[in-house]
Symmetry: C2
């Protein structure tokens, strides 16, 4: 399907993937080369899973999950498939994030370091809770077919806003975490420009640039998934956009849970379509 | 002029003003009660201007400057007046930011502390440079009447995106700065939950909530300044929206700098109108 400014999109997508991938590589080099490596034994080796899993899951995978509807070669796929991929990527990210939290609490408890005293931990835990809440709400309201259209239309702008706010706050929290860890350095002082300090500052910049690229891609109106019904969903009664919107306008107030299975499918199609529309009007 | 969801807007605006004001008050209490106070003598008293001026200028005033077009009681004012207020608030913020940087460099140099080693300083200085660049570009391209329409239309989405990216990055930088300062505490350790730590963590949360409120307000499409020409600008040849757009379509490719003063004014009107339109389509 045609996309306005396709070359620009492709350039930014490749840049985002490259910068995101580099962020993960930089984090691995940080913990494997400059730090003690990885392990699960209550020592620094266990702590080191914290940045690795967070940059991989909460930054890179969440970033990709945010722009997955923008990939033009998925526009011929059903909206349900794309929603499942969006939810799936966010679920993988959530699992990595939870493991990364276990790693840091384990490490703190083994070393008798206080938990939850820093601004990094306050903002970080809040954003993890909001992320999991967002994941559950998204699953029950937008992926499962049961929520009424009116509720979906009401919540879609909030879902989009919350998603981007969470993503931005995650990046801010990563920058705080990096700052903390570099100030905890024992062997060499951060203020004497040690190679680790310069390297990890660069990692921080990479994470920030990745976030900036994802925000640009997701907020371009011309790169949104088109409103038109896709082939997979509307093969049986394919029509012009006007025709579908017209039939939708007639039926949308009439969603009935006692429909037969076939009718439910049709209803789900209409729901998906309305939602597409709501999503597209609300996506910032 | 009527605004959809006016009560919701008012509630969020009052919340944003309150949280922004509280952030400034918390910063003052931090430096006056928990720290050494304010002064300009190369000691900590001079450093303390850094958080005070940054939270006041770069967070609070910049945040208000971002949403100034959204205030419905300004929709009857000319766009030029609103642009001047937007530019004026950002200029005041830029001046406070520059003084706050002088304060921290002065303090570092007087105390022989290294400059520019931390991620906070790297991101912070970058964002100040981008902010001043954005201010100059905005002044010459959008406020002065000389830039061609095509250039304005091309740059408006970038102006809006850059503005919000800068604002978000400023908040992330503030959170890093707060983290740094709390980890530098000598008398009491951050990890033992001292009152200062809890208080300044709360300040960090306030700044984050202020940013979240500004982002919500500025990204609601229903709260944008309407496209319709305002009374001040279009009194001479007021017409229906269609009529104005029609005449614009005919003339917009024909902007000539050798126009007489009156014609220039008419051209500027059209420019403003086009820009309104471009801005409204592009504002996220």
């Amino acid at each position: 399907m045609a996309m306005a400014g396709y070359k620009g999109f492709l350039g930014l997508l490749v840049s985002a993937l490259l910068v995101g991938f580099l962020s993960v590589i930089f984090t691995l080099i940080w913990v494997l080369h400059y730090r003690e490596g990885l392990g699960w034994d209550g020592t620094e080796l266990e702590f080191n899973w914290h940045p690795v899993l967070l940059i991989t899951g909460f930054v890179f995978i969440q970033g990709i999950a945010i722009i997955v509807y923008r990939l033009p070669w998925t526009w011929k796929c059903s909206k349900l498939l794309m929603k499942s991929i969006h939810a799936g990527l966010n679920t993988v990210a959530a699992i990595l994030v939870i493991i990364s939290l276990v790693a840091v609490f384990d490490f703190h408890n083994a070393k008798n370091i206080a938990n939850m005293y820093s601004l990094h931990s306050w903002v970080g835990l809040t954003v993890v809770i909001l992320y999991i809440l967002q994941l559950f709400l998204g699953f029950f309201i937008f992926l499962l077919p049961w929520a009424p259209l009116s509720l979906r239309a009401l919540l879609m702008p909030i879902h989009v806003y919350s998603g981007l706010l969470i993503f931005g706050t995650v990046i801010a929290t990563v920058l705080m975490g990096v700052t903390e860890k570099l100030l905890f350095m024992k062997n060499s002082s951060y203020s004497s420009f040690p190679p680790e300090g310069v390297f990890v500052n660069t990692l921080g910049l990479l994470v920030l640039v990745f976030g900036a690229l994802i925000f640009w891609i997701v907020t371009r109106p011309q790169w949104k998934r088109p409103k038109e019904p896709n082939c997979a969903l509307l093969q049986p009664n394919r029509g012009t956009s006007e025709g579908v919107e017209g039939s939708m306008a007639m039926n949308s107030g009439n969603v009935d849970k006692s429909d037969s299975e076939l009718n439910s499918e049709a209803t789900a199609r209409k729901r998906n379509f309305m939602l597409d529309d709501a999503g597209q009007r609300s996506t910032m």
